[in-house]
């Protein structure tokens, strides 16, 4: 079987590690790049505070006392794991994944604690919507940290027995890959403002993001479960897993769509009920993120149906071991790493310019 993530220069080890690889050793650059991406996620906002009528304030691990210490501890673990990877590739990769998974879990736990934090804020009722719930939200850094730590974790678990038997070759199934895109979009847009009450230019305005709605916590949890199931079905490559992931995607799509439609109708009703634009305060604006969420939900549903229908005969993108660019030959695994590095560099440049 053809594995583009295999390092041809290193033979399968004769020693017994915690796990045994069924098909050679993974390459070193991609896991390290994924770990770097998790660190970048840790530098992005984890918690966004949206006070009424003021600019957003965002916080991450570096804003917490002792947070830098946590990052340095994880960094030391990452460097140690990278050194171990030189000799014992899979063991080092698992150590690396465990180290960055801790950052991913910190991000996920911070997101879960938001519900507790927002429960301490007194209720501010405007036209039946509790704006206190909208004042604390999850930042984009959580999604970046969790997703890249999960990708690294899935690269590791592919090496485990008996999972390796179900995932013998590295091909990218098209449906799974396509389904992940709208799901990732929804994980981001659900934390952004769907409705804006009042005028952003005016002194007072309030945002109503998707994560402030009743039951949205469960929706977000199921959304992550759906993401995980599509990733699992990409690893296991069995029709039953694909049907399970597809069914969950359809249910998820339906519920998300109902949420967006209800918010859209609610926004329209508010426009109709409120006195016409008193000093700009009484205006209700539907944001682009609401429409993006709705369209992504439709895409999730359609891809879920297609996934179930084509569960036993799927289409895949098969990658070669290496790609040739003129006289330059780059292993595909490294190519992915370079692409990620490119985005990482872009992010750094953006941060420097925006400062």
């Amino acid at each position: 079987m053809n594995n583009p993530f295999q390092n041809k220069s290193i033979e399968i080890p004769r020693f017994t590690t915690v796990v045994q690889s069924s098909e050679g050793q993974p390459r070193i650059l991609l896991p390290i790049t994924l770990a770097v991406m998790v660190f970048i996620g840790a530098m992005m906002p984890w918690i966004v505070i949206r006070p009424l009528g003021e600019n957003h304030n965002s916080f991450n691990l570096t804003n917490v006392p002792g947070g830098i210490g946590v990052l340095i501890t994880v960094l030391v673990a990452v460097v140690t794991s990278s050194i171990v990877m030189i000799w014992r590739r899979v063991t080092g990769m698992i150590m690396l994944s465990l180290a960055v998974a801790s950052l991913g879990w910190m991000a996920a736990i911070s997101g879960m604690l938001l519900g507790v934090v927002s429960s301490f804020i007194p209720a501010i009722e405007v036209a039946g919507i509790d704006l206190s719930k909208a004042q604390v939200g999850q930042g984009s850094g959580v999604v970046v940290s969790v997703i890249f730590s999960l990708i690294l974790a899935f690269l590791c678990v592919r090496q485990l027995e008996p999972i390796a038997q179900y995932s013998p070759s590295f091909e990218f199934p098209v449906i799974q890959l396509a389904s992940l895109i709208p799901m990732l979009i929804v994980t981001g847009t659900v934390h952004q403002g769907w409705l804006v009450l009042g005028n952003p230019e005016a002194q007072w305005h309030a945002e109503v993001p998707g994560d402030s709605l009743l039951g949205s916590g469960i929706l977000i949890m199921v959304l992550w479960l759906g993401l995980g199931l599509w990733l699992t079905s990409a690893v296991f490559r069995r029709p039953i897993v694909m049907r399970l992931a597809g069914s969950l995607a359809i249910a998820l799509s339906f519920v998300t769509l109902v949420y967006t439609v209800l918010v859209w109708i609610g926004g329209r009703a508010l426009v109709w009920l409120l006195p016409s634009s008193v000093e700009g305060w009484a205006s209700v604006n539907t944001e682009a993120s609401l429409y993006t969420t709705a369209l992504s939900a439709i895409a999730i549903g359609i891809l879920g149906i297609v996934g179930i229908v084509t569960a036993s005969r799927e289409r895949v993108i098969r990658l070669k071991d290496q790609s040739q660019f003129g006289s330059l030959i780059i292993p595909t695994s490294d190519l992915f790493a370079y692409i990620l590095m490119f985005f990482a560099v872009l992010w750094v440049i953006f941060k420097i310019v925006a400062r």
Partner: protein, 85 residues
Amino acid sequence: MIKGALTFIAIIGVTTIWALGWTSLCWLVGASINLKISTSVLLGALLGPLGLVTVLTLGTLERRKALGIRDLPVRVESRTSNPFS
């Protein structure tokens, strides 16, 4: 300084409890469906709640295999070669 140290301990502690909790759960579930301990434990530690889903999926597939139900690998209908070449 003390505040920083206490927060550090709290963050590491909560994350460790989270990871150990899911690891134990995956271990228990994995043991009940005769999965390799190392696989169940690593799935829990690396994937957390998704690890439990993976353990259950793996358990189902292994059980179906033991019962003689053949879960054939997906038949690849069409292959697109390397998009980078």
